[in-house]
């Protein structure tokens, strides 16, 4: 379908509006990273680079960043494994209650995070689990499973079953078929699902607040406490800006990889 000229212009305008909406607050954030004053009054009274130095020499930020990356990687890995298992079960088997699986997996992200947080914390406490990085990972993985699952299940629906059948006919067993046929087919789905799961985990604050233990602090938790203290607010803006800039790398790489491959898959 070729859209008429006016439709195209309209779409361009709306795209521009949406992008402007998305980037306006990020622009503000960037401006305040250079703000000389501690308070976020408008317009910013002066220009300063000093918060960049303070951010870089702040050991707590560095520790929190490492914790966040570890939590994100752990949760993503767990979510990918669990999500792929469930997706293979649902997409390649028929069984009673198949529909209910999707429904159940989506609940942790669909229900309020505060409920997930309180419920998991109470269970950890009863089981006598020490709160820390592992409990954060468990909490995050719970709501990330659905992301991995959705991506993989959607891909499996589009992958022709004929190749798997051919593989089986040629004498390949379950594992070989998974490794040689399914896994390559699912790779980009795992990549994009993993990236989104990591992003979700990296910015999660509500569940984390309930499941973190003594001495474990993620970037969002650090921001949550730093944002309450005026002498650290400017540093928060610097850190947030740095995160956006840093995130260009994984997003770009993943997009490039999946872009190149999705052309093949389609």
């Amino acid at each position: 379908m070729t859209e008429s000229r006016w439709v195209r212009i309209g779409l361009r305008v709306m795209t521009f509006v949406a992008l402007a909406f998305i980037y306006l607050p990020l622009l503000i954030l960037a401006i305040y990273a250079f703000n000389d004053s501690r308070s976020q009054v408008w317009p910013p009274p002066g220009f300063s680079l000093r918060w960049f130095g303070e951010a870089m020499s702040n050991g707590r930020v560095v520790d929190a960043f490492i914790t966040s990356v570890l939590a994100g990687l752990g949760a993503t890995l767990l979510a990918l494994v669990l999500g792929t298992l469930a997706a293979l079960g649902v997409a390649r088997h028929r069984f009673f209650g198949r529909e209910a699986v999707s429904f159940m997996l989506v609940l942790p992200i669909a229900l309020p995070g505060v409920l997930t947080g309180i419920a998991l914390a109470a269970t950890f406490k009863t089981l006598g689990v020490d709160f820390g990085l592992p409990t954060i990972i468990v909490g995050h993985a719970t709501f990330c499973v659905v992301i991995a699952y959705n991506n993989v299940v959607a891909r499996l629906r589009r992958l022709p079953r004929s190749t798997e059948e051919a593989s089986a006919d040629l004498g390949a067993d379950t594992w070989q078929t998974f490794r040689r046929v399914l896994l390559p087919g699912m790779r980009t789905a795992l990549l994009s699902g993993g990236l989104l799961a990591f992003a979700l985990s990296f910015d999660e604050v509500i569940v984390t607040n309930f499941t973190a233990g003594p001495g474990t602090e993620t970037i969002p938790l650090w921001i949550f406490s730093a944002i309450q203290r005026p002498r650290e607010v400017p540093v928060v803006n610097v850190v947030a800006l740095a995160l956006i800039i840093l995130s260009v790398v994984p997003v770009y790489v993943a997009e490039k990889l999946s872009g190149a491959e999705s052309a093949v898959v389609r």
Binding site: M1, L19, I22, A110, D173, T174, F178, L196, A240
Partner: protein
């Protein structure tokens, strides 16, 4: 999975196991589903169930401890105190408003990305939409505070026209900020859904004399609907569960605030009883979304 991983070493035992497993579909299924179902079905839903059980207990007024004796006091409080109804309706209304806004804002850009933009532009736009997901949620809310607050950006921009900004006590602030926060979660599924519509289908429609508007209404929209429903699960549920945004930019309370405020210092049974409100709303919503095919497009 552990047996699967060991398989790379091509140990004969694992090969034999895989060969033995091959015809046993039922067992395969069991192996696949056991861990995800144990995790979500037992650990997560079990924890949630125990939390909700508190709704039927009551607290000792002296120590605030929960006493496990059956009582419907908490439900009574939720039903009879009008403020809880007001808050539930406010949150629900907000979830609807944010979802509609995000569809209206997100559909055109998703459509442009999927069907109009060149491959290069599409990639740039996709990155542009994904990037804000990495900017901290809390920092984004604080940026909006700068925009709304008295003598803030909006006041500054509107001053020449003699209009003043909204300040930080307006419910519309929450509408803007929540629509903002969850917009990428709407754009991405719609983009993926639109991208999946085969070009041939659209060409066939126009070959058969279908006008652009008709093709859009009869072919694009029905095929995009599941994707929109999928995106709406995020925008709707994330709004329903948020409690930081309304406090920060509107000075008001949502369902999540009541649950959070009562979860430790206040009355846990009340928090648990009130939790049924978002749970029931979400389960109904998910059923509707599933009928629209959302689960195939998440």
């Amino acid at each position: 999975m552990s047996s699967a991983r060991a398989g790379t070493s091509r140990a004969p035992l694992t090969r034999r196991f895989a060969a033995w497993l091959h015809p046993r579909r039922r067992l395969q299924l069991t192996l696949l589903l056991t861990s995800p179902l144990l995790w979500i079905g037992l650990a997560y839903l079990g924890s949630l169930g125990i939390l909700l059980l508190n709704a039927f207990w009551h607290t000792d007024a002296f120590s605030g401890k929960v006493i496990p004796e059956f009582s419907l006091d908490a439900f009574g409080e939720v039903v009879t105190n009008p403020v809880y109804r007001t808050i539930a309706l406010r949150t629900l209304g907000m979830a609807v408003a944010v979802t509609v806004t995000d569809v209206l804002l997100g559909f055109p850009i998703a459509y442009y990305m999927a069907r109009v933009a060149s491959r290069r532009t599409r990639r740039i736009l996709l990155i542009a939409v994904l990037l804000p997901l990495w900017a901290s949620y809390l920092v984004k809310i604080y940026s909006w505070r700068v925009i709304f607050q008295g003598n803030g950006l909006l006041d500054w921009l509107l001053e020449p026209f003699g209009i003043s900004g909204p300040g930080l006590n307006e419910i519309t602030n929450s509408w803007v900020v929540l629509s903002y926060l969850w917009l990428p979660y709407m754009i991405l599924p719609i983009f993926a859904g639109l991208e999946r519509i085969p070009e041939s289908l659209l060409e066939a429609s126009s070959d058969l004399g279908g006008r652009a508007g008709g093709t859009f209404r009869r072919i694009v929209l029905p095929l995009a609907l599941p994707a929109i429903a999928a995106g709406s699960i995020f925008t709707f549920s994330l709004t329903l569960g948020d409690y930081i945004t309304p406090t920060m930019v509107s000075g008001t309370k949502f369902i999540g605030n009541v649950i959070y405020d009562n979860s430790s210092l206040g009355s846990l049974p009340l928090a648990a009883a009130y939790s049924f409100v978002p749970i029931v709303i979400m389960v109904v919503y998910l059923f509707i979304a599933r009928r629209m095919g959302a689960f195939e497009s998440l």
